[in-house]
Amino acid sequence: MIGLIAIEVAKVRTTRFWIGLLLGGVGLVMLGVVATLAIAGSPEGREAGITPIETVEDLRGFIATGSIVGVFALVLGATTMTTEHRHRTLSGTFLATPTRWPVVVAKTIGAGVAGFVFGLIGGSIPLLAAAVTFAAKGDAVPFGSSVIVAIAAVGAGSAFSAAMGAAVGAALRSQLVAILGVLGWALVVESVLGALLPRAVKWLPFTGLTTSLTETGTVDLFSPLVSGLLMALYLAIALAVGIVVTMVRDVE
């Protein structure tokens, strides 16, 4: 299995698609970071609930700005299988590994690994920006071990997004449908559900569960442990569907 995961990571690494996604994610995080730092402490910022970074807790909240990179990890995951349909490389993959299910599992884990790296990068950017800002003022950024945990939490949320994307994508043939489908769910459907049923938000995989990993306690969400278990359950269900569809479907 480790060999298969390495192959799936190599498949992602040997194309340029991931670079574009990572740059897109990093760019968006940087935009969020600059905007946050610019308005923190101002009347507009206070109105929006954005306060200056004064404590470790504030810094943890600021690091959560990097979570947006998870959207790009979600797209990366959704394309791991569908790109093989699109470029008709799946027959080569299944000629080498005809049992198929290990390929789906390896793609999901491989996407998770890539998503985790995306998340670590995304979570590190706010920390770096805060450190530079504080250094410019001659101050030291408020730092503690919980800051590292916060970056790891951004990585975990991003890893979950990428793995979910891969598992869902395994059941689909069309890359466009997969990308629009997962983005539509994460960005539109969950927002609408959240507006209509606020108490259900904590059950939703992206606005609820991944947010709970980085949330500092201002919203009613499950604890990170419960969220982690639910994420594992959702992922297992999506993966099972992806495996079944992949096993029974003829390769074109």
Binding site: K11, T83, S91, G92, F94, L95, A96, P98, V248, D250
Partner: protein, 320 residues
Amino acid sequence: MSATAALQPAIEVVGLTKRFGELTAVDDLSFTVPHGRVTGFLGPNGAGKTTTLRVVLGLAAPSEGEARVLGRRYASLDRPTARVGALLESTGFHPGRTGRAHLRIAARSGRLDPGRIGAVLDQVAMGEYADRRVGGYSSGMRQRLGLATALLGDPEVLVLDEPGNGLDPAGVAWLRGFLRAYADAGRSVLVSSHLLAEMAQTVDRLVVIDRGRLVREGPVEAITSAVAQDVVVRSPDAPRLRQALREAGGTIADGDDPSSFSVASLPIERVGEIASAEGVVLHELRGRAASLEQAFLQLTGGEPPPDEAPAIPPPPEERS
């Protein structure tokens, strides 16, 4: 190859049926591919060749029947790409990956020796282009990369679907020689192609299918001689013999000179009997085997394959 494996055919298809909803693409098809032979897989467009190859390679599930490669289902072979090399018409490549990166991934996926990458690239004359992205390859270069992928595991069985597509004449000639040498080394090749002339020069055996069903299977000579052949006749009294043969139902075609002609629709024995009954002297009487194309057309009752069939229309200025 073990003694047991040597007793089994390289590929065995038994009672294979594949349905797509109401459409039966392959219908109770059975044939074998022996070791040490190049077996041609022939059939008109839509006959079910590619579907059959996909079932053989475990990429599609049969509705009924089964296909075995080296005595086992493809999916149950250990390191299958080390034993069976495949080039399918539908196989693609990621355009953003280089040819060499594609082969590295194929080697890792199939647990094959990556040290062979350079050798197979040289074998298909792609070494020079290996570090370019596949998106910039011509169709012939893609076909060569596909062949390199099939050869990477140094397999004992090759399954090739239209391998000549996109290759230039030199590439086709190389492929012909390569497949011949491959089979002469005791390995097996199953090759589907529309290029009948290429097939005739390359293959030892034929499996001909039409509408998903087996039409004929066997050595090329046996198949071409089994279909109707014409009879070449040369006689100093050709006009009288032509007339007698026409009256007996023969179809006459002119020969190279006035004394020779060919007769279709009558067996050679009957032609000899008619000549004898007419008291006509014969200088030549021989049967002429059908070409592979003639055999193909007779067996499938169809049109010649598209790449050989239509005459090129004259340019507009030559049309009246």
